[in-house]
């Protein structure tokens, strides 16, 4: 089974009992993707698969052949090369414990790719599948709106 993770080809024997989350965390050591509930209810394991945000815990490893996966590790490779969303999360104070952050950023990235100029309501709706217990969401929503603006600015 061959698939691309963060622009690199990977080849693995797919175990039928494994999820994409198991593959990322246990086989590829990409622990930036978090395990919160293992049943698709908290969003902490969100990654981008073929352009769409998915819960990695709900994707079977056997479905991966030929697919393109982006995880939080693929977004900003170092502190001076952060994605605008990551920068905005830091600047707006949108990170507290940080456990939900990778999942929310990946959800937001996939969302902004489709909807580059969202309203606050649309942002709230987009991340409603990602639970955060620390921030009360205000600063996360502000960060995503600020990140959207910055992404737009960089494109022009």
């Amino acid at each position: 089974m061959k698939f691309r993770v963060n622009d690199e080809w990977r080849e693995l024997d797919a175990s039928p009992t494994k999820s994409l989350l198991d593959v990322l965390r246990d086989d590829l050591f990409l622990t930036g993707t978090k395990r919160g509930c293992d049943s698709g209810e908290c969003g902490a394991c969100t990654v981008i698969m073929n352009g769409k945000a998915v819960n990695a815990c709900l994707v079977l490893a056997t479905e991966l052949d030929g697919s393109e996966i982006t995880t939080i590790e693929g977004l900003g490779r170092s502190v001076d090369k952060l994605h605008p969303l990551q920068k905005a999360f830091i600047e707006k104070g949108a990170v507290q414990c940080g456990f939900c952050t990778p999942g929310i950023i990946m959800t937001a990235k996939a969302f902004l790719d489709m909807n580059p100029k969202p309203t606050e309501e649309e942002v709230r709706d987009a991340i409603s599948g990602n639970l955060c217990r620390c921030t009360g969401y205000s600063k996360i929503v502000n960060a995503i709106l600020a990140g959207a603006e910055e992404v737009g600015r960089l494109k022009h």
Partner: protein, 736 residues
Amino acid sequence: MYIDDLKFSDVLYGKILRSPHAHAKIKRIDTSKAEALLGVRAVVTGKDAPFRGGEAIRDQPFLAVGKVRCVGEVVAAVAADTKEIAEHAIGLIVVEYEPLAAVLDVMEAVKPSAPLIHEEMHAYAHMPVVTVVPHTNICAKFEFKQGDVEKGFRESDYVFEDTFRFPTGHHCQIEPFGAVAQVSVNGKITIWVANDAPHRLRKDIADAMGIPFENLRVICPPFMGGGFGGKGGLKVETVCIALAMHTNGRPVKIILDREEVFMASLMKHAAVATVKTGVKKDGKIVATHAKLYYDTGAYAEKGPTVTLHGCESGVGPYKVPNTLVEGYTVYTNNPVAGALRGYGLPQSSWAHESMIDMIADKLGIDQIEMRLKNALEEGSINPTRGDILTSVGLKECITKAAEAIEWNKPRPLNRGVGIACEYKATKTPSGSSAFVKVEQDGSASVITSAVEVGQGIKTILAQIASEELGIPMDRVIVTSPDTDYTPWDASTTASRATFHMGNAVRNAAKDAKVQILALAAAALSVSAEDLEVSNGEIRLKGGDKKMTVAEAIRGKWKSGLTVLGRGTYYPEIKGTMFSARSIFYMYAAQAVDLEVDPETGKIKVHKVAAAHDVGKALNPMAVEGQIEGGVVQGLGTGLWEEVLYDENGKMLNPNFRDYRVPTAVDAPEIIPIIVEATHEEGPFGAKGIGEMTLVSTPTAVGNAIYNATGIRLKELPATPERLLKYLKARSSRTEE
């Protein structure tokens, strides 16, 4: 890097077999089939680790011995080469139970006829501040008393009394609980765990096992994925140790799944509170008697001190001359309840802050005016402990929250605002120690056991060290706890870290700075008093730069050396932990603007204004983040969150589908308001914030519902189902 991100070669995976019964004798455990399974390296039951632990009362076995006291209690555990083998092995263990009568309601559990949950309670070791009631299910009782409450009621024009129930709930940290334990050949135990008090954990385990501190090392990963009070005490740590004692040095890792986190980590206390208040016609409170019952579940955990703090704030933040607060921590056969942000206060607030509104309403006094008339202020006497209060920003909190929510603005039917306010102690006395080391390149490290739970303590401590040392913040690093290297800290709880550890770090930085300036003074042949340091540069006061911090160190020790600063903080207050008046008190008022749909009972929260007196906000953005997060947790408590059990004590909704945690769509606009009544002993005037942020929210929700609909709830959460029942009754009354 969180606990489950730590990788160990040769690691074994642990899995726990849990009790299906709320209360049962263990007749027999047969582990032979599990032991025989290929890949299983250890199987343990209660007899393999005959230790009992617990912060307040040493009542909880590492694994059940003789009987189980709640569904989810640890009965046996397995360590195996893979998670799958461990899971399989658990299924091969046979346990024979003899079910016992269980008691699941706190008010039933205090009756003399209730089944006794801990027959040996009177023999348990406990904190000095705890008074047990032998041969009952009351594992701790507390009393606070000022003046003469009966005389106060006689002098009152009106006396009101009512009873309020508060639901249990869960912290729902998004990171599940987990730990890794390893026992080396010399018997030393190392445990990696995201625990909010690594030194307390070491002490609790050492006390339980009868081993000296040096034989136990607790290492915290750099981050904890949410704590809110839940990740303290003994959770998976003890099971991990029990297994690791039988694996010939191989580390054992246990990460709980979400259902286990819900069912068997820690709960919020359900509570029943009765409050009786006497007032004069003008609204002045003369006397308050509160009686609080906290359901602590099968083991005491921090229940006794949760009760104590709830009682201490049990009459509200008011000048009440006659008070009596009685609190009871009660064993039931429910899962263990312990610390959850607010530490017993959301429960007591729900009673006395609902009561204040009910009184104001009866007397025809505005609810804000009623509060301002009685509110604590600078120099007031603490109504429960009797100490004189200083650094009191309560009235400013009330007026600012009311103003921000536009209290007096007319609102349509079924829309309303409600307010609640509170004061809270921190656990006192408690101590913190820290080192600050300054290296020969002018960088600094803060060596501390404070735990980063997401509140930003690493940032705050770096700010404090940077400010005091005169070294830029980007040249300061802050360690994570490792009890072999980082010094004692009581805990990262009780909103105490900025104040206590902040002071310790500040003192350590001062100590280091004195040494650095002495080096510079000798090199420059001037007096150290004439020197100052900022931005890593040393200068004559008001003059030009003379040398850098790095040059001062290297100038003296040309082959290199480290400057070591040490600092401690322990408030000058007598007594054992929790027994004394608080070193500081936090004050807050929160106002909620919401709308009730009369057809569905659904509530839409439009806005919350939350004003908090934090002494001095060292990092305003972090304070705002605490307020916003606490408010949304508080809305969850008030509106949606309730753990449900069947009649046998089994949890019915141990997942995020059926236990409703607020999402981004549920969260309203929040206006965080920072009030600064500086504290003379706080670092740069700071007090604390974290715990206070969800104390008042559920009650403000209840008060807003009343103002919107005329429906006075005495139980929470205000789910559509619950509200609809009252709305139907209201409309049938109107029709009549």
